[in-house]
């Protein structure tokens, strides 16, 4: 309905209402400009409504129903807060997925940022062929969350994979890492950390912005490389660190593709890689409890939103914006 009304609004003044006469042509011209505005906006607006807003609101409604994808939406029964009750009190797998996801994010995100920053520092030196190195280090991220790279990862960390062949050179007998409940999640984390290219490029850009005079002045005062890093680089880079932290945290919580591929969609072995999104997907598309999956999605949205707000509120204490002080 909302969509159907939208393009219609600007045509409202069309009927000859007395009020419209009085306001005259200026009004009409403004309305025409309004119309042009809406027309130009419409591709985005239609996308927002059709692809994001309406489905999201629908999923909020569905989270209070027993909707299954096999029935028409209109036939879903309203069951109130039952999905939420079941999620919080009667589904041990739900809490297990929460634990797996939190563990993943808490470990993989800081390590990924550290790796990104470390490599960015190394690549911030002036030397021959540095551009090629930058490209090479960014490459894993181009492959990104792709299915192909996860499949390669899976075979590398399998019982007879490349990793074990390498380890056997040193006389170490490896195991099928992805098939072991203790090692499957770390393997998944390693894949996430390895794809540090995106934050690295942002760090690199941030490093270029740090005024060289600051380092020169510090060197003259006899500051060691470590002190320059702690007292100049980190504070000057803190807005970029903050940006990467927020982005990667959200990203970390949403990890799906690699977990799906590595575990053949099951989250196994014994649910050790059952990320929240994977549990959600299975609840909706395998067990066909789409209402329940919708409820999971909304709790997830609220939790990620809360975490982001918390990050922003801590930002005041450690993020340093140089231009706000300069003015």
């Amino acid at each position: 309905m909302t969509m159907a009304q939208m393009p219609v609004r600007p045509t409202e003044p069309a009927p000859p209402v007395p009020a419209a006469h009085r306001r005259g042509r200026a009004v009409r011209r403004r309305r025409r400009e309004d119309l042009a505005g809406y027309v130009f906006l419409s591709p985005w607006l239609l996308g927002l409504l059709g692809i994001t807003a309406i489905p999201m609101l629908l999923s909020l409604y569905l989270s209070f129903t027993d909707y299954s994808p096999l029935i028409p939406v209109t036939e879903a029964n309203w069951i109130g807060l039952e999905n939420y009750r079941r999620m919080f009190t009667a589904d041990p797998q739900y809490w297990h997925a929460v634990r797996v996801t939190a563990t993943f994010a808490l470990i993989a995100v800081p390590l990924k940022l550290a790796a990104a920053l470390g490599v960015a520092l190394l690549l911030n030196k002036a030397m021959r062929g540095i551009a090629a190195f930058r490209g090479l280090f960014y490459l894993p991220s181009l492959l990104g969350g792709s299915v192909a790279v996860a499949i390669v990862w899976r075979s590398m960390f399998n019982g007879d994979g490349a990793v074990n062949s390498f380890l056997s050179l040193f006389g170490i007998e490896g195991k099928a890492w992805v098939n072991d409940p203790t090692w499957a999640l770390p393997t998944l984390m390693l894949l996430a950390i390895w794809q540090f290219g995106a934050p690295m490029v942002i760090f690199l850009a941030g490093l270029k912005q740090v005024p060289i005079e600051l380092y020169e002045a510090a060197s003259v005062d006899g500051a060691s490389a470590w002190r320059r890093f702690v007292h100049i680089t980190l504070p000057m880079l803190s807005p970029v660190i903050f940006f990467n932290l927020v982005l990667e945290t959200i990203h970390g919580f949403q990890g799906f593709t690699s977990a799906f591929v590595l575990s053949n969609g099951t989250g196994g072995p014994v649910d050790s890689t059952l990320m929240y999104t994977l549990r959600l997907y299975n609840a909706g598309f395998v067990e066909l409890n789409m209402g329940y999956a919708s409820a999971m999605a909304w709790v997830f949205l609220v939790v990620i939103g809360t975490i982001t707000v918390l990050l922003f509120s801590t930002g005041r204490f450690w993020v340093h914006y140089s231009d706000s002080e300069a003015k």
């Binding site: 994808p69 029935i71 009667a90 019982g159 969609g265 196994g268 072995p269 395998v286 067990e287």
Partner: protein, 445 residues
């Protein structure tokens, strides 16, 4: 749109603003109605045999199945030039996700393959067309089917799917490996304990683990339960208790301790793999727990010669299961044509010859006889021979279609059996966990 808006505002020379708004509202309301009506328009095209009909058909399987199904459908088109097909197929993994998504969007295929994991759910949700009336009017012929096979397609008294193949449990072993070490082959009817001892000996002699650990394999558990006078389900309720499961888990805990099975990570790999990557095929175990109709697919992926027998214990606990069905989408605008195609695939002798035993033994007994006489593919021959032989041993009762939630029961069995395998849980704790989880999955209070 016009007729509606006109009737909403009869001849008013200068409509007031709110009237205009109402007119627009009416138009906005009418739009989806009109679009809806257009979408329903196809309904009328049913009937006339000379009308061009394109049927969408969707199945899972390997390349071989696609090739055979393509041929059989092409034959149908030769006989009915007005009917063409929009064919889609993919691997088993992800098939049902896709089917559910298509159904949610109202775009379910006219004809789709389904199995006993989901048929109850799809039937109860009203996705599958009830074929009962087609069967009684003769438009769909199931009279040549074994009775149990026809009934395995019924959910709540409605014929929800037409069996496209019959299979039964098969324990497949690597004959080449056994011969190499002069080890005896396992035999149908040996007890579970004897089988474990046999496997432990294979491990010791050949250094290849004797058998995949089947504690997570639901159809093995199912046979074991039936041999003990229980069942997986009865009247849509669980038909076993914790003690049965604890016994099952303990059997395999002892087998692992005796060295009869691979290590837990390899066991998981076997549980997690497609047919083509079963441990007996990849050489990581001497036997795997499969369905007899999967023999050609297994054989294709290994150089070893394979043998197949019944699961251990009394073979009369096994039964002829519909390996998969074709169902017709209830919302299909071309139901009659779709049913006719399903009827053709199930009963036409030529189509039966083309399809062979890829989906299981042909459901129509006459066709099955012809196929078994003319088949040339050695592994298909083996499938037919073994299943015929086992068929003579089946008991009088076969299970009915598993209830809604069966696929979740299966995945919970894998999860919990593996917790026991990895030593993270005891057989007893695992049994309690499984019964609780299985009850929740099928909605039993």
């Amino acid at each position: 749109m016009n007729p509606i808006t006109r009737s909403a505002t009869p001849d008013q020379p200068t409509p007031a603003p709110h009237r205009t708004r109402r007119r627009l509202l009416a138009a906005a309301l009418a739009l989806p109605l009109i679009l809806g009506a257009a979408a329903c328009g196809d309904d009328s095209s049913e009937g006339g045999s000379s009308d061009k009909v394109e049927l969408s058909i969707f199945w899972w399987g390997a390349d071989k199945r696609a090739e055979l199904t393509d041929k059989a459908l092409a034959l149908y088109t030769t006989k009915h030039p007005n009917v063409t097909f929009k064919k889609t197929w993919q691997a088993n993994q992800g098939y049902f996700d896709k089917l559910a998504t298509l159904t949610a969007g109202g775009n379910a295929p006219d004809v789709f393959q389904i199995d006993d994991n989901f048929i109850a759910e799809y039937a109860q949700r009203g996705v599958t067309l009830d074929l009962t009336s087609y069967a009684s009017s003769g438009k769909l012929d199931v009279s040549k089917f074994p009775k149990s096979l026809k009934e395995y397609g019924e959910v709540d008294g409605k014929l929800a799917g037409v069996a496209m193949g019959e299979n039964t449990q098969g324990l497949v072993y690597d004959k080449t490996l056994l011969d190499k070490f002069k080890l005896p082959a396992p035999t149908t009817g040996m007890s579970w304990e004897d089988f474990v001892a046999w496997a432990a000996n294979v491990s010791k002699v050949s250094k290849v683990p004797g058998t995949q650990d089947p504690s997570a394999v639901y159809q093995a558990l199912w046979v074991y339960l039936r041999q003990n006078g229980k069942d997986l389900y009865k009247d849509n309720k669980l038909a076993f208790d914790e003690a049965d499961i604890a016994k099952w888990f303990t059997l395999w805990k002892n087998a692992r301790a005796a060295g009869a099975t691979p290590t837990p990570d390899v066991i998981h790999e076997g549980n997690d793999s497609s047919v083509a990557k079963q441990l007996v095929v990849t050489g990581k175990a001497g036997t795997s727990w499969v369905w007899v109709n999967q023999m050609p697919e297994l054989k294709k992926n290994t150089k070893s010669e394979l043998g197949v027998i019944a699961y251990p214990g009394d073979p009369s606990a096994q039964w002829a299961r519909a390996s998969m069905y074709f169902s017709v989408f209830k919302g299909s605008p071309k139901k009659d044509a779709a049913v006719d195609v399903v009827n053709f695939l199930a009963n036409d002798p030529e189509a039966g010859k083309i399809l062979g035993t890829d989906r299981g033994l042909p459901p129509n007994l006459d066709v099955r006889k012809q196929v078994s006489e003319s088949v040339t593919d050695p592994s298909m021959k083996q499938t037919i021979q073994v299943q015929d032989e086992l068929g003579t041993k089946f008991g009088p009762t076969s299970p009915s279609v598993p209830p809604k939630g069966h696929s979740k029961v299966k995945s919970e069995l894998i999860r919990i059996a593996e917790e026991v395998t990895y030593g993270r849980s005891t057989p007893e704790a695992g049994a309690t966990a499984f019964v609780t989880a299985a009850k929740a999955a099928i909605g039993q209070s």
